[in-house]
Symmetry: C2
Subunit: 262 residues, 2 copies
């Protein structure tokens, strides 16, 4: 299939997920805790089921890895990676900064990604070799002269192990404290692609949390990698950096390599 066909399919998945999610926002969404203690709602399940139905109909040989319903044909060369609601806790709290994440992996590497915010109607679309789009207009990450000027976002201190937290605080100590924002999940990565946030540093992410973000951030002029500077693929550890200005990558990696001294 051509990239245009894949992008059209990915957009139809995002449309279907949004239609499934919107009726549950701030409504009766049936919160449960999964075995790993992460939350799930009827909205997560309805959105992923809707996307899987469309893939099964339109591109039945592709593999699927979804947060809620697991893997099918995960050894296929083309695999869709679905997170129906990234930021379920924000969704549950009624905050419109969660998102649906849709990625296409080719031989384990993310080649297409969508972040869709179905309440505000914001959508970022990225594809390898193409300029990222935000609501159908080109998105561009911004330059960042020094880390001291950077706006740094991260979802929650609880996502870090104690060891990771010490390294994160080593980095946070290089950034002006009042320019660190918490919460936001995938939405922060869209804001990197649009040039409003400079840096996101997180850990504990699963493939469905980060795969879609890579083509979006990279197609905007930014870069994504793990905490050691390695590119992200299906085998990555879940320690993730998104940076709007690749010229600051050495500074970020060096700051992360040091532990915070209290």
């Amino acid at each position: 299939m051509s990239m245009d066909t894949d992008l059209a399919l990915a957009c139809s998945l995002a449309d279907a997920a949004g239609a499934a999610i919107r009726p549950y926002f701030r409504g009766d969404f049936g919160l449960e805790d999964k075995a790993d203690a992460s939350p799930v709602t009827l909205a997560d399940r309805a959105a992923e089921a809707a996307m899987r139905r469309i893939i099964g109909r339109e591109s039945p040989r592709d593999g699927i890895i979804g947060e809620e319903f697991g893997a099918e044909r995960a050894d296929a060369s083309r695999v869709w990676v679905l997170d129906p609601i990234d930021g379920t806790t924000s969704f549950v709290a009624g905050r419109p900064i969660f998102g649906t994440l849709i990625a296409l992996l080719q031989d384990g590497w993310p080649v297409l990604g969508i972040i869709d915010q179905p309440i505000s109607g914001e959508r970022w679309i990225g594809a390898v070799g193409q300029t990222t789009l935000f609501n159908n207009a080109p998105a561009q990450s911004r330059r960042c002269r020094t880390l001291d000027d950077a706006v740094l976002a991260t979802t929650s201190p609880h996502l870090f192990s104690e060891h990771q937290a010490e390294h994160f605080l080593g980095l946070a100590g290089k950034v002006a404290r009042r320019r660190i924002v918490y919460g936001g999940d995938c939405y922060n990565y869209g804001l990197v692609a649009s040039g409003h946030v400079d840096l996101v540093v997180e850990a504990g992410l699963k493939l469905h949390d980060f795969a879609a973000l890579v083509p979006i951030v990279e197609g905007s002029g930014g870069t994504m990698c793990d905490w050691h500077g390695n590119p992200l693929n299906a085998g990555s550890s879940g320690e993730v950096i998104a940076l709007g200005d690749p010229a600051r990558l050495e500074d970020v990696l060096e700051a992360l390599a040091h532990q915070h001294c209290a």
Copy 2:
């Protein structure tokens, strides 16, 4: 003046602040650091100036305490307390979960409050003795059976002193970890009033950060107080609790009284 007149004036302030802020959102907002290292933008200043002009014209004997331009007639019995952008860091990062806060104090006690989110067009209005309104419909906080079920929100771990953080973690340990959301500033308190968030616990807040929230949360059926259970007024310390279900207040105060043991 009657409460209706005051509410109409407060709404005109929120309208003016929103009109001043919107052109700067995700635009060229001229970020600076203030002497206390907190960020300020052209949008903060334009919004506060617009509100002060209206108060000066419509109710010139009232006092004003504003985050950006300080105090005038602060010893008046009626004092308007203005925070043009609560959550400036979120505003700077392009996240639509900051808000304009407008409070009216009568002899130091908040009797009227507005939270206005000018991008999403969401507005909470509270007044002593009246039911809180969200976008002109009644807002109601929700019951919470146990702390273990609660959705807990707090803006940033950096707002706590080391000592406060230990007590906050004592409370956080009673709440399911995956139901804690970070970021959000005043927006979280609106979500308490609308029954989507159960509990907000913060410290380091100034009068302009919390005064407007009190009539909104209390008019929805919830309660606000400091970490010792005392009501909030112009002399409060900035340790703040907002709780949708007042029946859980003893549990919250008891959990906060204990330090977290690592």
